[in-house]
Amino acid sequence: MITRAALSSSGNSKHSGTSTMNLERVPNEEKLNLCRKYYLGGFALLPFLWLVNVIWFFREAFLKPSYSEQTQIKTYVKRSALGVLLWAVVLSVWITVFQHFRAEWGEVGDYLSFTIPLGTP
């Protein structure tokens, strides 16, 4: 997804037929649809969809001259960014706590771990 977005941003589209590769050729309604799909999809515990949303539609939402669907796209992008931030904070906190306290949690820590290191507590 990100590589496709990078390709589209360089404006060198190889697949002029499909609508997903290059946002240049996509009509505005399609853009809004895509943005909404990614936004809604991210609620299924998929924060990377939100991240893609932000990166892919950032230019569309804030740097292009305005068009009718842009306000909606802007809200979606803002909300996706918020969602990504929230997930990042929660995951960072959990990862730090787990790495720090796993050894002290004994049995619980072992059952939560996927791989347990050898030779260290």
Partner: protein, 704 residues
Amino acid sequence: MDLQPNKWILCLFICSFVTGICCNSMEKKIYLNLNYTVACVRLLNATHQIGCQSSLSGDVGVLHVLESEENLDWVLNTGHSPPYMVILEAELFTRSILMKLKDGSRRVAGVAVIEPNTNLPGGFSPHTTCPNENSGVYTETYDPTYAHCNRTMWNPFGNGLSYEEFPFPIFSMKEDNDTRVIRQCYQDHNRGENGSIPQYPLCAMQLSSHMSAVTDTPTCMRRNRIQNDFSISPEMVCDPLGGSNIWTSTRPINNTEKGHKPSQSVVIAAARMDSRSFFFDLAPGAQSSASGLIALLAAAQALRNISDEDQPNRTILYAFFEGETFDYIGSSKMVYDMENTRFALDLDNVHSMVEVGQVGIRPQGSPIYLHSDPVSRKNDSVNTEVQSLIENLKEASSSSNTNVSEPEASQPLPPSSLQRFLRARPFPGVVLQDHSSTFTNRYYESMFDNPENLNMTYPPELTPEEQLSFVTDTAKALADVATLVAQTLFLQAGGDSAKATSITADPQTVARLLYGFLVKSNNSWFEQMIPSDFKSRLVDRPTNFYTGVHMQKSEPSFLVEYILANLTGTVVNVTQEDCKAQRENEDDKESRHLYSYMWVQGAPVANSTDTDSLCVRSSVRLSPAISPAFDLDLLSSADYSTWTESRWKKINGRIFLVASHELEMLTLGVGVGILLLSLILTYLISSKAEILFCSGREPTSATY
């Protein structure tokens, strides 16, 4: 035509290239691998971990041969190139030095101890001063005056090193080529001239002994279970210690029917078969284990020749316990089995117990001491039985060239398997030892508990075969103890006094057993007693008495099983096929319950390489020696042994020269710089390619 010499030249070039690469290994030029590496490994119990741990890829340290305890200051404070790998001579392997190294462990990469050729003067015991303190019978509830060795400190030389935890690897090395190379390397590189700072490159050593298990036994067994249940390729981290107890009886006992056997009264004759030292798999155990074991084996042989009409009414059960060093693994399991109808007998069948402890160090005329438990003797019936047992011992001693003596009445039992039986119920028992209060063994459970500790020396010009049959003074003294034990057992089992005096142990057998267990197990006598497939298990070094993990049969249990069968069994005329199938003939279904059959190699036939293989029928059985804590899943219990041994991937060591950290960083920096430079250069050149490489290309159209 032109290609032929080219092809040959190319072939030649490739061949010389390949030989140059593989025969000129860079690794061999840099590293010198140590041949003999004996490490200290990690053991875990219900609450602690003991032993040593290295980092995953090994710890590297600059060599330093320690000269004295004051020289530690260089390692811990003033040295300029930490971390150091400390080389200790055996005299410096003391508790105070190792504790100081443990405290300063940021600057210590590891320790290597050099084994001396002769034992240290004084004494050295890495075991605790009160062995098996919490797993014997003397607890606060039993009798607080005897708990924690309040009354008698059995092992005064004990410094407890084996039970400490070290964050760096500790290896042991012998005085051989490698040690000479190490000392030479140290002299050449690591000593500055005239007290100046030694300059890089310095001689360094890397020791690798990464242990997988950590914290304690419940944690590592839980991780074992998690690996087993959830992983595709499970990686175990630890294994319980244990093995097999070996037992046999003078009258065959039906082993298939477990539990109480009515009208069977049994006298247990016990000895332990294991020992340990600070290092893994290095446990000569001469006095702590082999002396008692050999005395009991010789006594069993002496009692074998009693004819049928002289047989006493009680049966004698010979039991050799495994794992007694580690909180009585073998005896606690046997008591547990007896209490839960998993053994061929019951505790109600047991009349009394005689245990043969450390009996090897007996200067001329010194007595054997008869230890008994004062607390259980407060009970009158037990006391009378113990008195009669002691009377039997005194009667036997008068005809066996030994004298016996009782230690002080209020002295508790030394660490012995009898303590576990007493935990179950009070009953009469005596432990034979060669010391009256503290151990005479100055090297209890250490690498110095070897034949020199028993004063066992052979005249220098003997060949190994001659040494095998040479009867040393130690062997004679031990044979006297064996005679004492045999006659006592006969009397205790109800035999006739007049017949008892004719029972004697054979000093020749004792001498051979001493040679086989303590010098070399690969000798002609042992070879005759084992099946031919196991010949490779006999080794050219002293037997290793370490218990090891329960899946592996320890060396002593392997040897005792076959020796006991040969010494107490009979040769029967049975074909090899039937023998291996545990039957006397095609239709025999009953013998396997009473007897066990072994097809052993036998004596070599003259003028050929064949041997006269034969079938030995005996009552020798194996009974599992794994702590009940693992069966009951009580891994944090204080009642049973919970010892486990960690697993590891590799244990090795190597020596090489190491450069200063600054030089390493400089080399890395230069390399990275060259990489970046070449990348930039390539980018510049490729972007200006048309200008730089104007080759004046003509169009390739042919102009004819």
